[in-house]
Subunit: 375 residues, 3 copies
């Protein structure tokens, strides 16, 4: 691609050499080849442009930078939010040949859409179907009766279980699991656990079994259009109805989505999020990294849950929650401030007591951290 | 299957058409075909039965519901705990042909039991053995010397490392890892870390290396009978003795079980649980979602640890723990209440100070949240 | 191997039969065969040596133990830190034949180094290269243009994405993902989320979409030498510069490393750690199990973050942090003590109030846990 074509694709203005060949988009300090385009769409990256060895720079309209340093400069309108458009020009497009690789194992009755690519060592089960122009890169599995929509990109090692349905334009990353069984068991002696706890020592239960009987998860996973599923993420199938992921929802790596969960459209679930069975997440909700939600709770539409929060109550629509356990963010912040105040208060009261405030007599605090023990 | 056969299988009573064909068990609102059986064994699902488009319903004895709505009703005794039995009738049974798929790579000296199925693109290493009637669906690995018992079901992408042993009737889900190396390293300069910390800035250590030497984990993973391992769960091998998982224990997705861990029988480990090296878990213990346990701790038999708890001490048999750090649940609840009380107390004392209580003088609180600073 | 050779390899002293055959290194209580060597290099294991059925023991110089019990005793200098050396003698070395297994799918232009082993059902993409004497066990993927150094060991199911670079002597465990896309999206209507939150109910946004546009992660993952990556760990590629893992760094299972992260040399990242996008970790840092670090933060060189800590601020070099949110460990410990003090203080003040301290009147506390409500 030439610089002028890049400028045109981004609706930008070109300064300098228009026919320079562009090959890669890079951070200014990573440029090493002639075709590298230093992308500087944030104050941080603009500031370091003069240290870049790039010959081509892409900057935002209005930015001040050492333009004489570059042979070619492309100026675009917008902000950091232009990155989707800019990076789309350069994005990875697997170099594949449509058709079924001879090493793939495809059931005779599976349906492979026009222009679809089934890569090496892929398994497509009986009755499964792959939509037109979808690419399954290698070593992935589409089990019996499962369906994949059009224009999907499936990375190596992805497992799509029997009967599960994935919509159009899905991107499924390395080793993700769609449609493993849910985790639901019933003890054969339901009271035994409580009895053991009542007994305190647990000793009485030592020699006994309390086998766990499986509730089979008979339904599937149903994924809308334009969904992205991160590497090593697990989405379990539902018991009597599908686990559902709405269109446009993006899920990061190592996320766990339990059985019967229902997620709305355009949600963001960051890395290592965990949703227990039956959780319902409204449209547009954002769950920060490592958020956990206990079973059967509801996260309202457009709610935001801050990273690492552990949710043990419903979260209203539009609310912002944080903390352990999660509470409205303002309250979580207040709790943290409160701890600092309390520390000072305790220090102060310790002094007051030493001075003999009425009704509060000082102990000799010689047993480490127990000054408030009454005499 | 006909409705009368289903009723008989569940020891239930049939009302209406006995020869109706049943095909799927579904949530009442998911019914769309004639063969769909609306399962209503909870108050919630019974309440919505009149909105169901199903022609067949399965309900609990004594439930009130619009029975004239259905052509066939099957009435069973029991409760929600009947779900294992009900769902077992309908559970997924892979449609496979016993034998070794021609695309599988099986070592000449591997032992494949009678009636076992080795699916496409599976690898079975030298000296490994698969028990009778076990099914390995596709693309999974049983490494050198590993053994799998009878009647197991292994989903695609499961990795069972060299020498590991899995008992009978195991169910291993997508991409689970049994027998990766444990995580144990010894620094070459053990004091360097402390020195750097003593120095505060850490600057002195900047240019130096402190290479980490691996303690090789020489032993295996040993899994009892009737164990289920969730998708993307890792169970690491032991150093000088096996990492052991007792019979009947069920493990959810994305769980991490470190080297040398020993887990008793009939335990439940929910999603994203993490057990560091050397943890011992007694029989029948229940670890809620995302529970973490620090290395070498003991969780007593029949103990319950609530979701998201971070365990930093031993947990006695039969105890119920919760929180960060985990404490007895009653104490954890009390701590939460305490924070609410303290908030009110601090608010009250702030007022008292403003009024000039002896020894506590009000600051002009103009530095944000520091009212307890002494003058 | 004979006992005298083992003693020589460990620079140890031999007592008893020198030509005894040694086969396995085991915990004293796990010995069952003649060739088993009971390893007792800790007080705990020395104490139980007299219960061992081993005929050969390996102990530390100076340890007291029932030596007449064993036919052969090997005495080594050192401590528990000798385990790397001891276990290295016995470590697993896969029994493989150099060369490309006929079932592997290797692009014609891929470069396979001398003495390298490409196991069954492995995929090596166009332009990829595998260094000399590296072993890829089975069913793993090295995508287009990716490179693997010399003497590496790659376990089944590992996925190395297009263009990623892994150095020498790497050990990559079951199903790890190197180079999945980063998680970075920009909403089409950026203000919509805030508007919904301002509106409180979120109702206004119910019917609207707010599509998420992907920032493509165009760069790669770059891994130094002597790095270990645990089972089911994900390391995402960078946006405009590589995600970088320094030489000598060891990463446990189920760890998530976001896009643009940079990790120094000789770091330890324990199980289930999560680093959000752009995090920088200095040389020699140690992150305990389940530590989470929010995006763009810096963990200084030689810092230690205790297990389960959730880091929301930069951590200085050489510092030790702990807690939720993470603070210097001393402060975290103090906070826990503080809660205990506060509990006693509140109990005390409740009594004081009941007694009628000026300005603090007792409520009739009949609404459960609200004794500090003012009248």
């Amino acid at each position: 691609m030439r610089a002028h074509a890049l400028a045109a694709a981004l609706d930008g203005r070109l300064i300098g050499r228009a026919d320079a060949e562009v090959s890669r988009a890079v951070h200014p300090l990573e440029a090493s080849c002639d075709g590298d385009v230093a992308i500087a769409v944030s104050p941080d990256t603009i500031r370091i442009l003069d240290e870049s060895r790039a010959k081509i720079a892409l900057v935002l309209e209005g930015a001040k930078f050492p333009d004489q340093r570059f042979q070619t400069v492309i100026v675009v309108r917008g902000s950091r939010s232009s990155l989707p458009k800019i990076t789309d020009v350069f994005r990875y497009r697997p170099d594949v040949q449509p058709g079924v690789h001879p090493s793939a194992v495809v059931a005779p009755d599976a349906v492979i859409g026009e222009g679809a690519t089934i890569g090496p060592l892929v398994v497509i089960g009986p009755g499964a179907s792959v939509g037109p122009h979808s690419t399954i890169l290698s070593q992935a599995t589409l089990a019996a009766g499962a369906t994949l929509g059009t224009d999907c990109l499936v990375y190596p090692g992805v497992r799509i279980g029997w009967g599960c349905r994935v919509g159009d334009r899905a991107v499924l990353h390395h080793n993700a699991s769609i449609g493993a069984d849910g985790f639901s068991f019933v003890p054969t002696r339901p009271g035994a656990l409580e009895a053991a706890q009542g007994a305190g020592s647990g000793a009485l239960a030592k020699s006994e079994r309390n086998e766990l009987q499986k509730v089979h998860t008979l339904s599937i996973v149903e994924i809308g259009d334009d969904v992205e599923v991160g590497a090593l993420t697990a989405i379990d199938r539902g018991t009597l109805k599908p686990t559902r992921i709405g269109s446009g929802t993006k899920i990061d790596d190592l996320v766990m989505i339990g059985h019967n969960v229902e997620i709305g459209v355009d949600c963001l679930l960051c890395g290592q999020v965990g949703l227990a069975g039956g959780v319902i997440v409204g449209d547009g909700a954002v769950l920060g990294g490592r958020v956990g939600v206990a079973d059967h709770l509801k996260i309202g539409a457009w709610a935001v849950v801050a990273a690492a929060a552990c949710v043990g109550t419903n979260v209203p629509a539009g609310a912002v929650y944080a903390g352990y356990p999660a509470v409205p963010r303002a309250e979580a912040m207040e709790n943290l401030k409160l701890m600092r105040r309390v520390r000072r208060l305790v220090a102060r009261l310790t002094e007051v007591r030493s001075g003999g405030v009425e009704g509060l007599q000082a102990n000799t605090d010689n047993n480490g951290g127990r000054p408030w023990e009454r005499r």
